[in-house]
């Protein structure tokens, strides 16, 4: 698929899956989408290996935008991008945006064929900072 992919990373697998479900229902199937959540041991948290797997799953040559919830999700996502390494890391951006609204808006933008930069800008517009 040539549209930008969306990855959702939450501390909670329920939040991540629920957010992905909203994207699918509100935006459709035109966007590569993957989610991950939880620390891999049954608790809340995020996990670099799982994030790398989600990026692979949602991979698009147009790039991937990652939506995260709390701090550790951002740190782990940035670590995952670094470990994936170049050249793919150049096409992956972690968005500073509210996870649910950001994912839906980013996916909406992506479904229309927008560039990674445009998708990320749309999500970031939702951020209060």
């Amino acid at each position: 698929m040539s549209n930008v992919g969306i990855v959702i990373v939450s501390h909670s697998p329920l939040v991540a899956e629920g957010t992905a479900d909203m994207v699918r229902q509100m935006v459709g199937n035109e966007v590569p989408l993957a989610w991950c959540g939880g620390n891999g041991h049954g608790g809340l948290g995020t996990n670099v290996e799982a994030i790398m797997g989600a990026i692979d799953k949602a991979w698009s040559e147009a790039g991937v935008a990652i939506l995260v919830d709390l701090g550790g999700a951002e740190t782990n996502s940035e670590m995952a991008v670094e470990m994936i390494g170049e050249p793919r890391s150049q096409k992956i951006i972690v968005c500073n945006a509210p996870i649910v609204e950001g994912a839906v808006m980013a996916a909406t933008e992506a479904s229309g064929g927008a560039t990674l930069k445009e998708v990320v800008a749309t999500a970031r517009e939702l951020s209060p900072s």
Partner: protein, 223 residues
């Protein structure tokens, strides 16, 4: 056996004498890994208790899981040249510690591995450690004074730069960890608590100090 230096780089108290050029401070990396995993395991409950006070209460368990994973492959790590060993240990920590500590401690080791030479002297170690601290600060978007592991790493770097002995470096790390008690957390989960984070030691600062002391002591014994 990896030779950490061929001069007086690691003169810890009880170990080598300062300036005793020609003494070898050979580093047995497998022994160092075992000692680090031991100290984390022995203090896992304490670290968890610290983290329960102001964080999410998983630091001890997470660190223990990560360092046990490193221990289980200690021989493979020890067989590599020091830079590659440190990078591989960092990657393993990223993948196994979890939480925000995984990327932070992982980045510390990975960056150290990138900068250190196969047989570092003190100058190279100090420079590499400085770069590794910068990498951790960038990864955590943090800086000294925000009640994090950086508040231990930076004083340790200062002590290394000042030519302190291993024991003095370890003491500086402990003092620095204690100095996080009155600080207000500005990064991580503890920052959600604002002023209520004051009065508790930062768990990451404590685990960092434990590891610094272990490294200083183990290298001293290896000499």
């Amino acid at each position: 056996m990896l030779e950490l230096s061929n001069d007086r780089s690691f003169d810890t108290a009880g170990g080598m004498e300062t300036g005793n050029a020609g003494d070898m401070a050979a580093l047995n990396l497998a022994r160092l890994i075992a000692a680090a995993a031991d100290v984390i395991a022995a203090h896992a409950e304490e670290l968890t208790a610290l983290d329960q006070a102001i964080g999410d209460g998983d630091h001890g368990l997470n660190m223990k899981r990560g360092f046990e994973a490193v221990r289980s492959e200690a021989e493979a790590f020890a067989a590599k040249p020091l830079p590659e060993a440190l990078k591989a240990i960092g990657t393993k920590l990223v993948m196994t510690v979890g939480g925000a500590s995984g990327p932070l401690f992982g980045t510390l080791f990975m960056a150290l591995g990138k900068e250190i030479s196969a047989a570092p002297d003190r100058a190279n170690l100090t420079a590499a450690f400085g770069k590794a601290i910068e990498a951790v600060a960038a990864r955590g978007k943090s800086q000294v004074g925000q009640k994090t592991m950086l508040d231990v790493l930076q004083p340790v770097h200062d002590a290394l730069t000042a030519g302190k002995t291993g024991a003095e470096v370890a003491d500086a790390a402990d003092l620095a960890a204690k100095a996080t008690v009155p600080m207000k957390a500005l990064r991580g989960r503890a920052s959600f608590l604002g002023d209520r984070s004051i009065g508790h030691m930062d768990a990451g600062a404590r685990s960092t100090a434990l590891l610094v002391r272990t490294v200083a002591q183990t290298i001293g014994k290896s000499a």
